[in-house]
Symmetry: D2
Subunit: 289 residues, 4 copies
């Protein structure tokens, strides 16, 4: 009986821009799977001559699986030189959250998870401090304390990577995690690590951005969520937001107002990633939201 | 030689939502016109079961005209029960602006027109006051003073309608025009009259919205641009924006801050309309921006 | 020894606007208490001829108490016909939070309380549902389940009022509490009950504002925190915020985006109230933030 | 008879923070001039131990002039080591606007001037292009074309400075003026030259900020108005604003959306400066708005 329930999937594509792509994909899905296209969005990068598409569709064709799709889609994908991914709605992604001292982003993500905003399994919370253990426990998420002492970065990261592999983690969220990940760590999870930086990037990269913003006398402060790449604070930006400050706002006020921004931009990035709404290329992102 | 230059056109469609629409349209454009789809956006209203699409395409097929399109598209349009419009990029729309005392929106529109932001012929400025004559003259736009004395509304509107017909006006912009248009006037230009109301609708409908906002003690004031329908302030909303106010802002400050919003929401609405980026249905708008 | 520690207090004043008020108050505080004025803000309502002031000061004068202040300030207060309140920084206010089904505002307030954003004792969580019990327990805040069955409103409110009295509650926060409080309940806590309404008031008063916003086709949705008065949704507005929506946002998206606004406007209102930064008059608020 | 009309003046003060300042100033104004304090705002920089105040007052005392004030205020100013300025509401400031190719900020300022938003004499428009001549003429503002050919900067600036001196200019507004002013020019008008930079400073300093923002893939673009100092783009920030962009926005869209920000942040800065609402120190600004 289950075989007759429609499956929902997202197809993400990028390829050189050419006439006929939209029609070709729409035809393919209807012809092969009698698919119902629930949502289709595309984007062209005119300058680079690239085409991006996100198609969400449902089908009652029980044959449709990732392997089977790969076979029947191969010829079309080759013809248009597509990079593509097909993601079925179930099972949801496994997510690990890394935190340090500040827990407001974690608490926010956990509450959103609780009320159903985040379509995932929150599998794991990892921290170099003990502070988050109780919160993790309350939400029933396994907590792992992995201290980050100087000189043991390689060992620490090995331990972390083992945990991630063991839990088959699909997405790592750095929710104000104050350690820099090594390039070799990052290379294991390309476009699968999301960080929140507490400034409006590219302004105020590096440490203590609120201090820097306060010193420069800006009239708005910001926060940025982005994919982590080898170069700190330089990965593709997913989301940014800002809020107004005034001379009445001292440094602690900036930090407090900034927390509100951090919660928002990080949770939006995580939700969009989990909904397969982000395509990343040329150090930019296309958001199908 | 001109025949070989690619033509650019926008196809706007709404119809009941059904699988296969996107593919059918894309196929049609490629098959009939070897069209290059420059941009395609669609939207579903899940609740009402409606589908909306905007396709911008170019073609070198010299046969492509509105009449010829109507013929070859008829069968497909019938099959999917489409409402549709095809608009060629040239010639641009003819626009009339109606104003009264306050000229900031007019001055803003004229400057945007001057620097090429508005793809139209600004054909006509109509006012029930003489105040705009010099500004119109400076920009070389014909100005018509039509007084609006009590009891002569029908005569006034007849004069206005004659002017609009004579100039083949496609869009009427009410840029803080303080007279209410009669239903019979409005019915001549459905979805072709854009008004700016100086509040965040549906709050503070009617006269003196800034006074009402001040009295209620709101913390943000807004402005709204919308298509004009028979019922005052009730037409489909095109754009809204807000700005923060504080207790330091007295009524004149609200009015001054509000002007900034009025300029923005009206000019965006006009630009989107001229770019055929608005589809209106069920007293709402879909914006393909 | 404690006597030598400086005390911090906030003096809130409103009175008819007259020349000499600022000087009179500043002189008084320096003369009587050798006070250090940490912060002084004032506001005039020109139309109503009213003057508002918030002065935050510290003093090492051990004589300074509320009773003693009342005596020595009496003559000045009488001369200027002041309404005034003196609030010492310690002890902090006792706060009760009322909730129903939706717990995102409560969870947000609890996290902010945890990290020190809210200067208060969170004494009590009251709900007509059991859903918040675990969350309250985790944060160590007493939880009281008081069912709200039809026809027992008077009894329910009596039980609630008894609890509030028993815990000497200074502020009641309605964090998406879905029951309407009776005028007699409200009259016990004038300007001491803060509600969050999930619309940009005065648009969409009453039930199901997101549904109404969706139906009207607005381009921004909002949320409002306000003091509760006898008339539903009509009390003095404390804070409002909005966020942009698009045609891609269905009703559940409005509700989700709205939750972010509700958390922000409610927590700001609570924080300002606890910092004695709000003066309310003529159904408006003056915010000294 | 004129002597009995109340004069309005603004007193701007900065000095080391000390108890008693507010009372001392308020007492002085009442005692000396029987002044009516229309508005008083103060700000403390806690870190630097500085105090800032803006007092707007009216008086019917005909003796009150800048010279007389200097004499009677000397002792108090000395006691508190104040920097101070007294500015009478009349006559308004003389303003010169410098422009190059892009005229949207100039057009915006002229319209605001026309409708009374800017309390000044717009005395002079200077450009290294002829493009603004007609616009200046329409508004009746003298226009001076001063070409900026390579190698003649010193001569150009001398010509400009002569013009400014001749017209007794109090404020120079760089409304997208594409030439860099020399340090010696800037030193003649400290805190009297306002520039608009088309980015959210400190991000994207230097030339072509919209190109840089587009390349980096930011999700918001900004604009900044600031006082000009010797170091390009490093002066005290007066106002900033941002707007959201998406992948649909190509470079021309960024430039178009950016123009809206430029108009807003520049006009606010000019209005605040003309209202004597800006105090600048330590490369920051305090805005009494």
């Amino acid at each position: 009986m289950l075989g007759y329930m429609p499956k929902t999937a997202v197809l993400l594509i990028d390829c050189p821009d050419r006439r006929g792509i939209v029609a070709a994909i729409a035809n393919f899905l209807v012809r092969e799977y009698d698919a119902n296209i629930l949502n289709a969005d595309q984007h062209q990068d005119v300058e680079l001559g690239l085409f991006f598409m996100r198609v969400e569709f449902s089908t009652e064709n029980t044959a449709c699986s990732e392997d089977q799709f790969r076979q029947v889609f191969a010829s079309l994908a080759g013809e248009f030189r597509m990079n593509w991914r097909l993601i079925f709605a179930t099972p949801p992604a496994n997510v690990a959250v890394f935190v340090s001292h500040y827990l407001h982003c974690l608490a926010d993500l956990l509450d959103r998870y609780q009320i159903g905003e985040l379509n995932c399994n929150l599998s794991l919370i990892v921290s170099n401090h003990e502070g988050a253990r109780a919160l993790a426990g309350f939400h029933g998420v396994p907590f792992h304390y992995i201290p980050a002492t100087a000189g043991n970065k390689a060992a620490t990261e090995k331990q972390q990577l083992n945990l991630l592999a063991e839990h088959q983690i699909d997405l790592v969220v750095l929710a104000r995690y104050m350690q820099v990940l090594s390039p070799s760590f990052v290379s294991v999870y390309p476009q699968q690590i999301i960080n929140v930086h507490h400034s409006f990037l590219p302004a105020f990269t590096g440490a203590k951005p609120y201090h820097a913003a306060f010193a420069r006398g800006v009239k708005l402060i910001g926060a940025t969520s982005h994919y982590v790449t080898e170069v700190l604070d330089e990965g593709p930006i997913i989301e940014q937001d800002v809020t107004r400050i005034s001379q009445n706002d001292q440094l602690p006020d900036l930090i407090q107002k900034g927390r509100d921004l951090e919660r928002l931009v990080l949770s939006r990035a995580v939700r969009w990633h989990l909904g397969h709404r982000i395509l990343s290329y040329a150090n930019k992102t296309v958001i199908f939201a």
